[in-house]
Symmetry: C2
């Protein structure tokens, strides 16, 4: 299809924005558009914005427009393109996104979970190019993921595979939004990480390093409510012991969850993207070390943890990759 | 291949015995043989016993002999049939079982991990027939497993997929033989289950039910060293509260591990075999209930936990199924 199509349109639907791009077979973005997703307006509003985004790319690309469309969305996406239960979109039950867009635009349309799209993008054009199989992790507000097997998205029975953020690392651990206990997301998702840092700064760390001297607090002018993982990363880069300890621990927690995944699916390579990609190398090293100490013996030599390469563009590029 | 072959030879290699069977395309065993595996003699001795088992089936089947051979073995088995690190076989590094058997017997040979073989047998002829995809659990001395996707063995990158016994359910839990902490095997493997029961009987249960009156102790004539999961199951069937509580808890622990697997690979069906298959229904119900309370919302309606159907024959039938 790459031969007949100069580019494909990739659409990345989030809770706030619909990003669109014209993407070449080499993963290059020729033109982009960003629209509000209107998630508060429910499915109809969001579908309308997706169509508007497709049209906007058409306008920009002029005569070359009209090719296939790939859509990445939060939620579980069936093989037929039915999108189930996306978080952050109001009033959305099961919506036939692929069917609607085909009818409305007359184009070839494929829809897939957004984390799976980003995983595919890394596989085709990013850090995953070197690997047949890998676990993709998006470490941001939550912990999302996708699994690539044989350079293809591994979807499981219903398209929901790869939710590694909801691997429990302690059955009696903190209650997660999902209803389970001890999900790795409930230890290292951005909100939890920030809250934990606030607690450590308030209580003072066990090693006696005076929390009031922490670089983290200086970076937010003494206001703990302003801290986020980017601030913690920055403080860690500067050598702040509290920040280093919290991020090392977070890396280890990720490693615990990934060990369970490796033992289950025998895929010893993890590629980590999302907001935390800005964090210092030692965070991913902590994850890899933890994995090596926990996975079954034959996997230990094989563990690789790498940073994702495509950043925020992975969603759009991956969505387009569905039809490239 | 079923058309040209009246039967295939299935070989199930364990630490103690090599079981062999002539298996039809309908999963029926026409003739069987059991030899000692001579695991203490190292790879050469075991390979010799496998060849002897093939010959014994040939002898029994007479003119019909000479067909393909499937071999199930503990350890990780590469796509080429290299068997790595089987537990319980002395001095075994990486051994090219498939190559050796092809050269020695001149037959078509396929080798696969034994739990994967049993999973395949259940898929073709047992409790898995109804399901495209399922997680297979062998609950015995350890907790083994295999994953069936699209009616085929899911092998992962190196053939090691499905080791769900080594999914940790508590990162700070008890040390497992594998080196990890909190593996579900270290909570519910037979040895651990027996030890835990002994402890409960010695300490007395927290609900005040007098442990000395436990039916478990009566079944072993008061000697706790004689107890095993079969005894605990029998006591539970008779309504003994200590036995019921321990097995319910064990079922729940299995459910915790399976929840992580379901969220990772989106396969909501588990089929459970091994020694524990003799346990009362409430054990698997406890596992299913725990899963429903822990998996991501879209999976909750889909959870199924069933008992395996093929018992001890699953290994031989599954090995033959590799070439049927």
């Amino acid at each position: 299809m790459t031969q007949q199509t100069a580019f494909a349109t990739g659409i990345d639907v989030g809770g706030t924005t619909v990003k669109a791009g014209a993407v070449t077979g080499e993963g290059r973005i020729l033109g982009q558009a960003v629209l509000p997703s209107r998630a508060d307006g429910g499915p109809d509003a969001v579908l309308g914005q997706i169509v508007a985004a497709v049209r906007e790319i058409d306008d920009r690309m002029g005569a070359a427009a009209g090719g296939p469309v790939g859509v990445g969305m939060p939620g579980m996406v069936s093989a037929e393109g039915l999108v189930r239960h996306p978080p952050n979109i109001r009033g959305w039950g099961d919506v036939d996104v692929t069917g609607y867009l085909r009818r409305t635009t007359g184009r070839h349309v494929v829809t897939e979970n957004d984390a799976n799209c980003a995983a595919l993008a890394e596989s085709k054009f990013g850090a995953g190019k070197r690997f047949e199989d890998f676990i993709f992790v998006i470490w941001g507000t939550g912990i999302g993921g996708g699994i690539i097997i044989g350079r293809k998205i591994f979807r499981g029975a219903g398209g929901g595979a790869g939710e590694i953020g909801h691997v429990s690392i302690d059955m009696n651990g903190p209650l997660c939004n999902c209803g389970n206990r001890g999900c790795v997301e409930s230890y290292i998702g951005q909100r939890y990480l920030s809250e934990r840092t606030k607690r450590v700064l308030a209580d003072g760390p066990p090693d006696g390093h005076a929390a009031t001297e922490s670089a983290i607090l200086r970076l937010v002018d003494g206001d703990p409510d302003r801290l986020d993982p980017a601030v913690i990363s920055k403080a860690a880069e500067g050598g702040d012991p509290t920040a280093v300890r919290i991020l090392t621990e977070a890396g280890r927690y990720l490693g615990v969850a990934l060990s369970a995944v490796v033992n289950t699916i025998d895929v010893p390579v993890a590629i980590v993207g999302g907001g935390i990609s800005a964090a210092p190398d030692f965070v991913l090293r902590a994850a890899a070390d933890e994995m090596r100490s926990r996975v079954l013996q034959p996997h230990r030599q094989e563990i690789v943890v790498e940073r994702a390469l495509l950043g925020n563009n992975a969603g759009v590029i991956g969505a387009a990759s569905l039809v490239l």
